[in-house]
């Protein structure tokens, strides 16, 4: 399977348009990807990390070269749990963790449920499937704005529905106070469960029907079939799906930004939004970068552990 130089140099009639293949060929064709990644992702990220060691407050932001070295001061301040900055960072992390676990868990569960009940054809399946995919296809901000409109206290659809069902006496606040967290969770789930559904549905289609037939002959109940056949067969899809959903949800900026704008309630203070406000509202880009760098390290560590763990398991499998 290796394309080394010997197979590349086949004596063929050379045409002008043909690229002669040498060892450098794969490097040539990944070069554009590398250039763009360097320019937009890697170098800015390294610059961001460099910023986290500088005292980049408003006094120096116009002239970076004059910014004094902060050493680890920014990190100390962010990690100092007795100070207000550290407490804010910690609270935001905790909220984000809770948010991520709930959103990824429930989105996966709903996606799985929908994928299982839509696994076999029935009348109207195509219509239902199409409808379920709309929230994912919708541009993110459009869906969030609609939810924002529905979550209004006095004129919102949500309170109207809850009141007419007799669940609430008077309208509740959804965008301020403690409910803000639930508003965020609901919007994020609405957006992400269709993606889980899409992936899982595709995964289910790759499971041959006769496996189930055999299991049914052995007397396995549907739930048992799901547990012992469906789940193991979906493992490769799940691994990718959960990792990606985890990263997207953890770094979610759009939902709080569009939902709350400048009035961000403490209960909905997701980490990306927290860092954005900490950087741009107070001009303290050094501290903001330190928070981002810590966040990046955390995500790298978590994802790394996840991948290593998976590789081990698949080698053993």
């Amino acid at each position: 399977m290796t394309a080394n130089a010997s197979t590349a140099r086949r004596p063929r009639r050379p045409t002008k348009r043909r690229v002669r293949q040498g060892w450098w060929f794969p490097y040539l064709i990944i070069l554009p990807a590398i250039v763009f990644e360097l320019l937009i992702h890697i170098i800015p990220m390294l610059t961001g990390i460099w910023m986290s060691f500088k005292q980049l407050t408003k006094f120096f932001i116009a002239n970076w070269s004059a910014a004094p070295d902060a050493g680890l001061d920014n990190y100390r301040r962010v990690l100092d749990m007795s100070g207000s900055v550290g407490m804010g960072f910690r609270n935001s992390l905790l909220i984000t963790c809770a948010f991520t676990i709930i959103v990824v868990g429930l989105s996966w569960a709903l996606g799985m449920l929908a994928a299982v009940v839509l696994q076999r054809p029935f009348r109207g399946r195509a219509v239902v499937r199409t409808l379920f995919l709309v929230p994912y296809a919708l541009p993110m901000y459009a869906g969030i704005i609609a939810w924002k409109f529905m979550f209004q206290k006095d004129n919102g659809a949500i309170n109207h529905i809850l009141q007419s069902l007799g669940i609430l006496d008077e309208g509740a606040f959804w965008l301020i106070g403690n409910n803000a967290f639930f508003a965020l969770v609901i919007v994020a789930i609405w957006r992400w469960w269709p993606f889980a559904f899409l992936m899982l549905m595709a995964g289910l289609q790759s499971i041959p029907e006769d496996v189930y037939e055999a299991a049914a002959l052995d007397g396995a109940r549907p739930l048992r079939q799901w547990w012992s056949i469906t789940l193991p067969m979906l493992r490769p899809v799940n691994l990718v799906l959960l990792l990606n959903m985890f990263l997207w949800t953890f770094n979610d900026f759009n939902t709080p930004y569009v939902l709350y704008g400048t009035a961000n309630p403490p209960a909905g203070d997701l980490i990306s939004f927290h860092i954005y406000n900490a950087s741009f509202l107070t001009w303290n880009f050094g501290a903001g970068s330190a928070m981002s760098t810590l966040l990046l390290l955390m995500l790298l560590a978590l994802s790394g552990m996840y991948i290593v763990y998976l590789n081990r398991r698949s080698e053993n499998a």
């Binding site: 490097y27 116009a62 006095d154 309630p265």
Partner: protein, 443 residues
């Protein structure tokens, strides 16, 4: 092949290092560089959105700027920027040096922006070029920089707070326009009828900037300052706590504000309530005239009085010195042209036009206000602006005061709205934590 590969790896690694070094070194000279695209000698001007929409503003400013071009031969490329984006845009401009020549700023940001060093100092010569400092109203000029420093911005539009009240509702209830805080609360209580969905007052309790303004004005009425002479925050004094609690109590104990106001994150919502008869009073800056009328209330249906202080309060401050300043980026490629533009926009004739269009107060001494036909209203706002307004703290951390104290008040209003009862101690605690944030940022 292996050898060449490692060499390649080495070369690419060193290439990366070189690229990084280039980035850092160019970042290093960001402050000293000319802004871009100035070959033509045209000026770029970022105007703040003052009117009902960006397009309205363009319609007002474009003819003026054409007139300027006709007079001086200097082309102006203008962009009107919405209020939400202006601060971020200025920030990125300061950071990168990729900036316009002339920019409007919220005058409360003046000292914070001055601290960045990215703006041109109006020294004697520059002031001379724009027509001298003494043409401006004293209070307006005071906002242009920290005390004892060379200012880095100049007044462009003036604004002040007033208490708007619904004449009909007051007449029907046999009430006079309030002159003290107590009278205001009393009138509000009498006009509140939750059953009908009518409240005595509407406030933008979810807007951190508005909240910060009232924190300042109410504290000033109690005779307290928010920063000491060294520029350190003093948010936890009794006067500050009481002033803020008094404002929170409009919703909490007086119950003259609908709890749903805790979600009002800009002035438009409370103005709409006022115009639709859902609220008898609002506290707004004088450019609310436009918005109220746009929402369907006619000018003779409302009256204005100064925002009142409690009876016997040590101080009758009724507003902060609100408004817009104009500033030049220090790296402008056309300093003289930019100064000419500032001079042009702050001349009597243009000020009259702009004041009329944007409903702002004149920042020039001895000029008549043009924002309203109503002489009484004009007189009240001018009196507040010139004699009963104090500038917000003139310290570099002013923007952090606004965001931290304002957010703290947002959160307190949210607590009140969702049923928590706040005491003076709770307020003090919230302010303590805001103070810690600001102290930490000062370093």
């Amino acid at each position: 092949m292996a050898l060449s590969l490692t060499r390649r790896g080495f070369i690419s690694a060193s290439g990366l290092t070189a690229a990084l070094a280039a980035v850092s070194s160019t970042a290093a000279c960001a402050g000293s560089r000319q802004s871009s695209g100035r070959g033509s000698g045209a000026l770029t001007y970022w105007a703040s959105n003052q009117g009902a929409s960006v397009d309205d503003d363009k319609a007002t400013l474009t003819p003026l700027l054409e007139e300027f071009t006709a007079e001086t031969g200097i082309e102006v490329e203008m962009e009107v920027i919405g209020w939400n984006d202006l601060q971020t845009r200025i920030q990125t401009a300061v950071t990168s040096g990729d900036a316009p020549d002339v920019v409007n700023i919220g005058n409360t940001w003046a000292v914070s922006l001055q601290a960045t060093g990215a703006f041109l100092e109006f020294d004697e010569a520059a002031l001379e070029a724009v027509g001298g400092a003494d043409k401006f109203v004293e209070t307006a000029l005071a906002t242009c920089g920290a005390p004892g420093t060379t200012p880095t911005s100049l007044p462009l539009y003036g604004l002040a707070y007033g208490l708007y009240y619904n004449r009909q509702m007051f007449t029907d209830a046999g009430l006079e326009a309030p002159t003290t805080w107590e009278e205001m609360v009393d009138a509000a209580k009498r006009l509140t009828d939750p059953g009908k969905g009518v409240y005595g007052m509407a406030i933008a309790a979810g807007s951190y900037t508005e909240n910060a303004h009232y924190a300042f004005i109410n504290a000033a009425q109690e005779g307290e300052e928010l920063f000491d002479s060294d520029g350190n925050p003093t948010f936890t004094g009794d006067g500050v706590v009481n002033g803020i609690l008094r404002y929170l109590d409009l919703m909490q104990t007086d119950a003259v504000v609908n709890t749903s106001n805790a979600q009002y994150d800009n002035g438009a919502d409370s103005v709409a309530d006022f115009a639709n008869g859902k609220a008898a009073m609002i506290i707004n800056q004088n450019n609310a005239d436009t918005t109220i009328v746009a929402n369907g209330m006619t000018h003779d249906q409302f009256g204005v009085v100064p925002y009142p202080a409690p009876a016997g309060a040590p101080d009758d401050t009724a507003s902060h010195v609100a408004g817009i300043n104009i500033a030049l980026f220090a790296n402008t490629g056309n300093r003289d042209g930019a100064l000419q533009l500032v001079k042009f926009l702050t001349e009597a004739e243009q000020q009259a036009t702009l004041g009329e269009q944007f409903k702002t107060l004149p920042v020039l001494k001895g000029e008549e206000p043009t924002f309203t036909e109503d002489a009484q209203e004009a007189a009240i706002f001018m009196e507040v602006y010139e004699n009963r307004a104090k500038p917000l703290p003139l310290v570099p951390a002013e923007d952090q005061f606004e965001s931290s104290v304002g957010q703290a008040m947002n959160d307190m209003f949210a607590s009140v709205a969702t049923g928590t009862v706040l005491t003076a101690d709770d307020v003090r605690q919230a302010l303590q934590s805001a103070q810690d944030t600001v102290s930490a940022a000062i370093g």
